[in-house]
């Protein structure tokens, strides 16, 4: 079972935060096929959140084929996102670390590195 948390400062809507946290848990293998998501009532009680918001998030995950609702029982994971790309994480991370070392040698501080990454990420996404 996983627990949700909400970041009020993120600018991301509560329903999307719930969706993202489930996807993240699936990607990292924290949730596997057959696992149950917290019930709507449990999430409402834990976060003082609107039940419609939780339902909306679960419906979106269902549409994406990641979970299935069993009426009267709960919502269960039907598919994992921890796929073959997990194997690629390690070499990519090492490459990124080499790049970070290079950036620091060039005199960039953490803030400049983050700004540069954010800009490159955005323009990369526009090209893709």
């Amino acid at each position: 079972m996983i627990e949700f948390s909400l970041d009020g400062q993120s600018g991301v809507s509560p329903y999307l935060q719930v969706v993202q946290q489930v996807r993240q848990a699936l990607r990292l293998g924290l949730l596997r096929e057959g696992d149950q998501l917290p019930t709507v009532k449990e999430v409402v009680a834990a976060l003082a959140i609107n039940p419609n918001t939780v339902l909306k998030a679960y419906r979106e995950l269902e549409r994406d084929g990641l979970v299935a609702a069993r009426p009267g029982v709960g919502t269960f994971v039907t598919r994992t996102l921890a796929d073959a790309s997990l194997a690629a994480h390690e070499p990519l991370r090492r490459e990124l670390e080499r790049w970070l070392a290079k950036a620091r040698r060039a005199g960039l501080d953490d803030e400049s590195i983050r700004a540069l990454f954010a800009t490159a990420f955005r323009s990369g996404r526009e090209v893709a």
Partner: protein, 295 residues
């Protein structure tokens, strides 16, 4: 959409001052609607008109399909928790429940007792001795025990500390999860509403500035940041909500149904609070009364 509250050209004037003007709204059923705006914007007036405690100067209002407080049966369908969650100071918690049971036909006595028990409220305690948070919980319990279709709450959490505020909203949200209940609650603190409301109405200077589904509002509002461009004309499908300029930079809040294509802008997300603040301060940087940002 089934509407639980409908207003058409609704207005209320006190002597020469309009507290609410030309208000046309449809508040959907089964939702939790937040009514936000600075103090004095007309929130309590709108809620007073919806409950029938005030009579309109112009226009009309319908609640659950009929004029407010039309008859006893209709009164039973709408619950109202007034500002500062008043209770009878001399009556005990248990006496409040007995009074509620006498006055309301569909009274859920068992549910009310269970709720108060879980909250740890002593039935023998006089309401005047309760803390602000406990009194608010008592008022909410009474409002829910009436089993209304629509529960209206006027600034229910404004005077509560963060913990009491969270507990109050938790009980309210659990009630929404348990059964079909429409809720309209007002607040001048937007951060309170961010996680509980799925519909929003922004009221400033006695007028409705924007109303709609919270996720739709978030998806269609953007913060654009870029090099200074004052007096810019936006594409026809974009509406300027707020702008500010420094000597180098322009920051706009726009409402747009489609994507923002102008490459000069960095497009950012808006929190619900930023979105509401943008409407409150308006396009010409006219400063409305400040919104409290309590977390």
């Amino acid at each position: 959409m089934t509407a639980v509250l409908v207003t058409r050209g609704l207005g209320k004037r006190y002597r020469r001052r309009w507290a609410l003007r030309d208000c046309t709204l449809q508040i959907p059923a089964g939702r939790v609607t937040g009514l936000v705006g600075p103090n004095g914007a007309g929130k309590s007036t709108l809620l007073g008109l919806a409950t029938g405690l005030l009579a309109p100067t112009s226009g009309d209002v319908e609640v659950c399909g009929a004029p407010p407080a039309r008859d006893a049966a209709h009164l039973a369908r709408v619950g109202f928790v007034a500002q500062d969650t008043p209770a009878y100071a001399g009556l005990t918690v248990a006496e409040h429940l007995r009074l509620g049971a006498r006055l309301n036909p569909g009274w859920d006595d068992e549910g009310a007792r269970r709720r108060l028990d879980r909250l740890g409220l002593d039935p023998g305690q006089r309401a005047g001795k309760l803390s602000g948070g406990q009194r608010a919980q008592l008022a909410l319990t009474l409002g829910l025990a009436k089993r209304p279709e629509l529960l209206i709450l006027d600034e229910p959490v404004a005077s509560l500390d963060p913990l009491a505020r969270r507990e109050f909203l938790q009980v309210l949200m659990e009630a929404v999860a348990e059964r079909e209940l429409s809720v309209v609650l007002s607040s001048h603190v937007v951060s309170d509403l961010e996680r509980v409301c799925d519909h929003l109405v922004v009221l400033v200077d006695s007028r409705v500035q924007v109303a709609g589904d919270v996720d739709d509002l978030r998806a269609t509002h953007h913060r654009l940041t870029g090099p200074r461009r004052p007096g810019l004309t936006l594409p026809s499908d974009q509406r300027l909500v707020h702008e500010s300029h420094t000597d180098r930079q322009s920051t706009l809040v726009v409402r747009a149904e489609g994507p923002i294509l102008d490459p000069a802008w960095v497009v950012g997300n808006l929190s619900l609070e930023d979105l509401v603040l943008a409407y409150m301060s308006g396009p010409a940087e006219r400063r409305a009364a400040p919104l409290e940002a309590v977390r």
